[in-house]
């Protein structure tokens, strides 16, 4: 019996390559939405525990990103948007990325469970597993509904943040979940309209590749029409103030106007690019105003009770 040992090149991966595996831009959105879920939750949590929860959620999101890049290295190499990532560039091996992602995922979930609570840790574990197994390994390559269903993973952080404080789940974070869930399709389909060739080259069945541009533009309008009222729901339901209500109505109206422009566009992708850019601003605006509204409301209530006493 002969044993052949593979010659393994020593790694040239720098710290920056490992940071890139964590998808820092996605991570920042995850941390921000989780922070909002955490701060609007009733009850008190010590700032150190809150920061620990956010750190674990951030690391867990990064782990999911690394595992996604490990599994998708073949299609990343074929797409212009992702060809510069560390694995297609050969700076990080797929094995290194998988080991890095798995280690971080286990650490993030275990630390969140041991130091905060096991409800939020279970939700984080579910989010990572959903993103990696359901979205990356299954849906992404098999159905144009990939980002619709897979979007649930990106929508869960506010629920994790809420659970970190309360140890449970309630209607309020579920509404925030639904806002992100219905925001994801128009956001990604706007992008995929002007990146359709890239997706087709990689063999990913995004909606414009499979069903065509006209159907994608129609679906963008439908999802935006569901999203806009959902964006206002926190105000209607009483867990956000008038400032949030005004911002949500204005932002929702702008999203609908842009979606209709995308629908009407026949040549070029100016409206799609505008829709993609504005959708990021819209989601950030909703959560930022909700946060400001809650913090301002909390400070005002404290001041009133202080002077009343």
């Amino acid at each position: 019996m002969s044993v052949t040992l593979a010659r393994i090149e020593p790694s040239i991966a720098g710290v920056g390559d490992y940071v890139a595996l964590l998808k820092p831009r996605v991570m920042s959105l995850v941390v921000f939405t989780a922070l909002v879920g955490l701060l609007i939750a009733p009850g008190h949590v010590h700032p150190v525990i809150a920061l620990t929860a956010l750190l674990c959620i951030a690391v867990g999101a990064g782990a999911a990103g690394a595992l996604n890049m490990w599994y998708d290295a073949d299609i990343d190499a074929r797409m212009l948007r992702t060809a510069g990532r560390p694995i297609p560039q050969g700076r990080v091996t797929p094995g290194e990325a998988a080991g890095f992602g798995l280690t971080l995922a286990v650490f993030a979930v275990a630390t969140l469970g041991l130091l905060v609570n096991w409800v939020s840790a279970s939700l984080l574990a579910f989010t990572i597993a959903f993103y990696v197994v359901i979205y990356t390994m299954w849906l992404k390559r098999s159905t144009p509904q990939n980002i619709v269903i897979g979007g649930a993973a990106g929508a869960l952080p506010p629920i994790i943040g809420w659970a970190a404080v309360t140890g449970g789940v309630a209607v309020e974070p579920i509404v925030l979940f639904l806002i992100i869930f219905f925001w994801t399709p128009p956001h990604f389909w706007a992008l995929s309209l002007y990146r359709a060739e890239d997706y087709a080259r990689a063999g990913i069945p995004m909606l414009p590749v499979v069903a065509g541009e006209a159907e994608t533009r129609r679906q963008i309008v439908i999802y935006t029409l569901i999203l806009a009222p959902l964006g206002v729901a926190p105000w209607f339901m009483g867990f956000a103030g008038a400032l949030y209500g005004i911002a949500a109505i204005a932002g929702g109206a702008a999203m609908i106007a842009l979606a209709l422009r995308v629908r009407a566009e026949r040549h070029g992708h100016v409206a799609s690019k505008q829709m993609f850019g504005f959708s990021i601003l819209y989601l950030f605006l909703l959560f930022a105003v909700l946060l400001a509204d809650r913090l301002w409301g909390g400070l005002a209530a404290q001041a009133v009770s202080h002077f009343a006493a």
Partner: protein, 74 residues
């Protein structure tokens, strides 16, 4: 005598395969300057991450135990 001389003349086989480019003596790996720099930066990052993890555990322990952290059975 002849037998011994013949044995002395034979060149003994090397204990390890001859080193290739990028390898040190005896087949060990000799890192390039770029690989050394990358390894050093990774080592520093791992040390910082572990240090941060220890600090998190320490702070959460203080928060959870509060003043009881000083209470020890005598």
């Amino acid at each position: 005598m002849t037998i011994v001389s013949d044995a002395m003349d034979e060149t003994p086989p090397p204990p390890f395969p001859a080193p290739l480019a990028g390898e040190g003596q005896g087949g060990g790996i000799r890192l390039t300057e770029r690989q050394l720099r990358a390894r050093r930066s990774r080592s520093i990052a791992i040390a910082l991450a572990l240090g941060a993890f220890v600090v998190v555990i320490f702070l959460v322990t203080l928060v959870k135990l509060g003043s009881n952290v000083l209470t020890r059975p005598m």
